[in-house]
């Protein structure tokens, strides 16, 4: 079955390269296990070859690759700060993130910080009062050229080639924390001790972590596979505060937003090419 799929990939890839491929597929994830059960990802059967190969295969067919990204519309969050709180809670619950409650050992995937901390390189001289006083959402940037992946000595953190997510394999992490030193966005947390006692409520669809490994936002890879949106995006549903999608797809919602609005990104001078954008 594996070899069959690989063959299919080659054919599909070649056909798209030749310009006869389907229009780029709007996909949140490169895979949709159980997608048919949920009735999601319909319309993803754009690739002519895809239909014949069933739900599992068609999604890997985008050769140029999906690059998942996020736009955070701070105007909406400033107006309604509770949106960000909801997003953070949703993430914490979805991923069994422990609430350790001290700065030394805390673990955070998405959290709040003031403008001057999130954008230390930008001017914050006479910043608009409402921006100055508001908390920004901070999370992993899922860089296109991630320094953490370069630094990791075991490929425990890596870029998923099918969708651009910078992911973690907790099974493989040796806990050297080189990635934490390498990340220019402070997005990574380390399990200084067993996190389980600090988890308030278990989500049995996701594991916890063990002590001694690094963790961070995974753009909800596990939820995307089920055809769901990331937890934080879902928590802000209907408001447009967080828009998520494929940056490489000109038709995607996120691209419509990016085409229209002026956005900024965190510390772009480092060449990491972040995939998270902010509208201020």
């Amino acid at each position: 079955m594996d070899t069959q799929r690989r063959k299919f990939l080659k054919i599909a890839g070649a056909s798209v390269l030749a310009g006869i491929g389907a229009p780029a597929i709007i996909k949140l994830s490169a895979s949709t296990a159980l997608a048919s059960d949920h009735g999601v990802a319909a319309g993803a059967h754009g690739a002519p070859a895809g239909a014949a190969h069933g739900a599992a295969a068609h999604v890997e067919a985008v050769p140029q690759g999906v690059r998942l990204g996020m736009v955070i519309d701070m105007r909406k969050i400033i107006e309604q700060p509770v949106l960000l709180d909801n997003a953070i809670t949703a993430c914490n619950e979805a991923h069994n993130i422990p609430q350790i409650g001290n700065r030394k050992s805390e673990i955070k995937w998405i959290w709040k910080a003031p403008f001057e901390n999130v954008f230390p390189g930008e001017s914050n001289y006479h910043l608009a009062k409402n921006v100055e006083k508001s908390d920004f959402a901070v999370l992993c940037n899922h860089c296109d050229d991630p320094p953490c992946v370069r630094a990791c000595p075991t490929q425990a953190t890596f870029k998923v080639k099918e969708n651009g997510i910078v992911a973690m394999d907790f099974h493989r992490c040796i806990g050297c924390r080189f990635c934490m030193a390498a990340c220019p966005y402070g997005a990574r947390s380390f399990n200084w001790e067993d996190p389980r006692p600090y988890i308030k409520k278990y989500n049995n669809q996701f594991p916890s972590r063990m002590r001694g490994v690094v963790e961070k936002c995974n753009f909800c890879g596990e939820r995307l596979a089920l055809g769901q949106e990331p937890a934080c995006v879902e928590a802000c549903k209907g408001t447009g505060a967080i828009v998520f999608g494929d940056l490489n797809d000109a038709q995607s919602e996120i691209r419509q937003v990016l085409d229209k609005e002026f956005t900024i990104q965190r510390n772009t001078s480092l060449g990491t090419k972040p995939s998270v954008f902010y509208i201020v």
């Binding site: 490169a30 949709t32 296990a33 409520k201």
Partner: protein, 132 residues
């Protein structure tokens, strides 16, 4: 032989020491464990019993890499029922009692896999009002 008086008793002590696990158990093997069958009554696994007994760890490792690294989160289907690849998502849907199924053999074989340092058993998940 020089130092016969020390070498021979020394050798005897050494041999006794390294064979400790054998004679300590009175030269008998402990009874083989009988892991609990799925309480839900499922009869078929993704492969034969013999295959699973010998290779479940490789299967899990392969699933792990499939899901995490290769983004091949394909479904496994057994008797019309679909499961997502994963220890929590597939295996423990039927083999829901870790203590009676997994630990039973692992303790006997003196192996301590680190699966449950992260993965939640149904019991563990329920201990903190598991959602969904």
């Amino acid at each position: 032989m020089y130092n016969k008086g020390t070498i021979i008793p020394g050798l005897i002590i050494f041999v006794l020491f390294v064979t400790f696990p054998i004679w300590f158990n009175g030269l008998k093997a402990a009874p083989a464990p009988k892991p609990e069958l799925p309480p839900g009554g499922e009869k078929k696994c993704i492969e034969s019993v013999e295959y699973m007994r010998a290779n479940h760890m490789q299967v899990l490792n392969q699933w792990r890499d499939n899901v995490l690294r290769d983004d091949k989160r394909t479904v496994v289907e057994v008797e019309g029922k679909k499961y997502r690849k994963g220890l929590q998502q597939a295996c423990m849907q039927c083999h829901s009692n870790k203590e009676k199924f997994c630990d039973n053999c692992h303790t006997f074989a003196a192996v301590t896999p680190y699966c449950w340092d992260c993965h939640l058993t149904p019991k563990e998940a329920a201990s903190k009002e598991g959602t969904r």
